[in-house]
């Protein structure tokens, strides 16, 4: 049905979005690239050519590899929790029950909360080892309160972020589950398939597409997790909860080292693109676009 005429029209319709996004990406990127070859500290008006020195410093920073690992741990940790937890919760919500609508409202709520607010609330009112609610609960059962942010900083962040994204995963997977043909399940039941094998042979394959979407969208947001870290642990103790965006932030806004921060930004862009390529392969297979 696509004629030459409609093709031309199609191009014309796509181009504003493409051109705008391209400008939004390329203009700052070129400037960042330029700064990354300069010795440029915001507090020092004198700049000079730096060659690859900024890259050298950023890549040999002991914090860099730790941050790289932490970035992956956050992405993978949150994905595992939300996809597995989301599937189980979706199974639960798919069962007949009273007040399903209201339960769904409860489940979806965390998704509406600003990341800064949720981080502040978790940090102060739950994870604080003296005044937090977790401390109160552990004292209630007679154990020593856990110093969440001091001793398990990365796990705490994974937990907070998972809380924010669990509703998203649950709801997409639930919608997918509800579209499952119930006759198929009943037929399997007749054949004497156990609940477990029904789950793995019918439900899981059916959810593959939805799961892909969950992974894709979440990865996009999880790669640049920032506010949660800034508010709760500020990347510490040590570099225990510093991820790549936070490391770049430390360079640019704590040290005001624009040159170093820009080099870090370019490195982050390259890494993000590597992840993007992998992700797109995965998506391409499951999401027949």
């Amino acid at each position: 049905m696509s004629t030459t005429h409609s093709r031309t029209a199609g191009k014309a319709m796509i181009s504003p979005a493409v051109i705008l996004l391209f400008l939004w990406m390329i203009v700052p990127l070129v400037m960042t690239l330029y700064f990354s070859f300069q010795f440029y500290n915001l507090l020092d008006p004198v700049t000079s050519f730096a060659g690859f020195a900024n890259y050298e410093y950023f890549l040999t920073d002991p914090a860099f590899f730790e941050a790289l690992g932490n970035t992956l741990i956050i992405v993978i940790g949150v994905l595992c929790i939300t996809v597995i937890g989301g599937t189980l919760l979706a199974l639960l919500l798919d069962q007949p029950m009273f007040g399903q609508g209201i339960v769904r409202l409860l489940f979806i709520a965390p998704f509406f909360v600003m990341p800064t607010v949720s981080a502040l609330v978790w940090k102060n009112m739950f994870m604080n080892p003296t005044n937090g609610l977790f401390a109160f609960l552990s004292k209630l059962v007679g154990t020593t309160p856990i110093d969440w942010l001091g001793h398990h900083p990365l796990a705490s962040i994974v937990m907070i972020v998972s809380w924010q994204w669990l509703p998203f995963a649950t709801l997409i997977l639930l919608t997918a589950m509800q579209s499952l043909d119930s006759e198929q399940i009943e037929a399997a039941e007749m054949d004497g398939a156990s609940a477990l094998s029904r789950f793995f042979h019918i439900i899981v394959p059916h959810l593959a597409r939805a799961g892909t979407v969950v992974i894709l969208i979440q990865t996009i947001f999880l790669l640049s997790i920032f506010a949660e870290i800034l508010v709760t642990t500020a990347g510490g103790p040590g570099y225990a909860s510093t991820n790549i965006p936070y490391l770049v932030y430390m360079q640019s806004l704590l040290q005001f080292d624009v040159g170093g921060g820009s080099a870090g930004g370019i490195v982050a862009v390259i890494l993000a693109n590597i992840v993007a390529i992998f992700l797109m392969r995965l998506v391409g297979k499951n999401l027949d676009l």
Binding site: P16, L43, P129, N131
Partner: protein, 436 residues
């Protein structure tokens, strides 16, 4: 494309875009500390005396504020007319001509009344570049009742050894009483302010005269070992995320035996509305180790005017108002003398009414004890008690602070933390091209 998009958006938002500022609206960036929040509430006094000047407040947490104003002033963004900055920023910014020298603040302003230690920290070449809103040093705040219960008596000028003993004696973990609360949250203005000042009293220094980092010295090792051991034995859980504010909450809630921190905290912990222990608080000078230096710092939150603002005259009027003697009286008349911004003017400490405030004398003594040009036992190439007044310091010290927080949290050993601190400081200083 971009232009048409802008035009389009303007059209879309034409309804909502009418709030643009009138001629003399001052945008004031400030920290969300108690004294500043109070100032914000008292602005009616200013606007009624200065018709035609409106005030817009940007109140943020310290680090967020610092990033905002630094980015703005360094890129000449021009978003602020008055900025709240500290003794660390003033000399660096003034040297780059980013600040308006504060001359002509009015006949009754009385610049000579400002405490010499504070005024020195805010001046470059004898020109004042920022007006102190409140000044602070650090001191020991302790619970008289718990001290008595432990069978000990706080001297006016304690040693670190005494603090260590008292803290362990006061600790009663079953009842959630911790002998000492100290800053542990990483940040150059958080744990590093405390630890740098403490290190001074242990005879340690950041750099030798050739700008070589000194974290491999015995003095730093003694400092950090003392601190980590003390906090493990007598500190609250989760110390590595406790900054000024977290410790304040703990102290007010009756969970700290001692707290060594900013002198301004005294008015919060003795305020019966917020503090459960208001009538049991005693004060002492920051501890020493017999080396002739005490572990107390010097800081002043100050109001400065960025160069290039079009509203310089109005801004000066505001700065003069907020840091004047009259402002102190205004606060005293509304909220009592104990809540007046402390530590800036000699006249305040000569005021018989103010002398009745329990922490007044100790605050003044602490401020006078600090010497930014000669902060530690040995000679140093830098100015600043709990900081080093070079632009690179805040980045370096925040990273070092992370290492020390990790040692405190038990994530790394004290030796490793110092080794990492040494190497990261060396790297950063090399990159910045020191010695200059």
């Amino acid at each position: 494309m971009q232009k048409s998009a802008i035009a389009l958006t303007v059209a879309v938002m034409a309804t909502g875009a009418s709030l643009s500022a009138s001629a003399d609206t001052l945008t004031i960036a400030t920290v969300n500390n108690g004294d500043m929040v109070r100032m914000q509430k008292l602005t009616d006094d200013f606007t009624s005396k200065n018709p035609g000047i409106d005030l817009e407040w940007v109140t943020l947490e310290e680090n967020a504020l610092r990033q905002k104003v630094t980015t703005d002033i360094a890129t000449k963004g021009g978003q602020f007319d008055v900025m709240t900055i500290g003794t660390y920023e003033v000399p660096i910014w003034a040297e780059r001509d980013w600040l308006v020298p504060l001359e002509g603040l009015g006949d009754d302003y009385d610049v000579d009344d400002i405490l010499p230690a504070i005024r020195g920290g805010l001046s470059v070449d004898d020109k004042l570049y920022a007006a102190p809103f409140y000044g602070e040093s650090s001191m020991v705040m302790y619970r008289k009742d718990l001290m008595e219960k432990a069978g000990m008596e706080m001297p006016e000028a304690p040693t670190w050894e005494f603090i260590g003993q008292a803290a362990r004696a006061m600790t009663d973990k079953d009842n959630e009483i911790y002998g000492v609360c100290l800053r542990g949250k990483a940040g150059w203005g958080e744990n590093m302010a405390f630890l740098t000042a403490t290190a001074n009293s242990f005879g340690a220094r950041w750099f030798d005269m050739d700008w070589n980092p000194q974290f491999d010295s015995q003095e730093w090792s003694d400092t950090l070992n003392f601190y980590v051991d003390l906090m493990n034995d007598a500190g609250p859980p989760g110390s590595s995320s406790n900054g000024f504010n977290e410790n304040l909450t703990l102290f007010q809630n009756g969970q700290c035996g001692m707290w060594i921190d900013a002198t301004v905290a005294a008015s919060f912990v003795t305020n019966a509305n917020d503090s459960k222990v208001a009538d049991q608080v005693g004060f002492a000078l920051a501890p020493d180790n017999g080396l002739g230096k005490r572990g107390n710092w010097l800081w002043a939150w100050s109001l400065a005017i960025p160069a290039g603002t079009e509203k310089e005259e109005s801004a000066k009027k505001f700065v003069a108002w907020a840091t004047s003697k009259a402002y102190a009286e205004l606060v005293a008349s509304k909220e009592g003398w104990a809540n007046v911004p402390p530590g800036t003017r000699t006249s305040l400490y000569e005021n018989p009414e103010y002398q009745k405030v329990p922490f007044a004398a100790m605050t003044l003594a602490s401020i006078q004890e600090a010497d930014p040009t000669n902060p530690t036992v040995e000679e140093v190439p830098y100015v600043g008690v709990q900081f080093v007044a070079i632009p690179e310091f805040q980045g370096i010290a925040t990273s070092v602070g992370q290492q020390f927080a990790a040692a405190l949290a038990g994530q790394s050993s004290v030796e490793d933390a110092l080794k990492n601190a040494q190497s990261l400081t060396e790297r950063a200083m090399k990159k910045a091209g020191y010695p200059k």
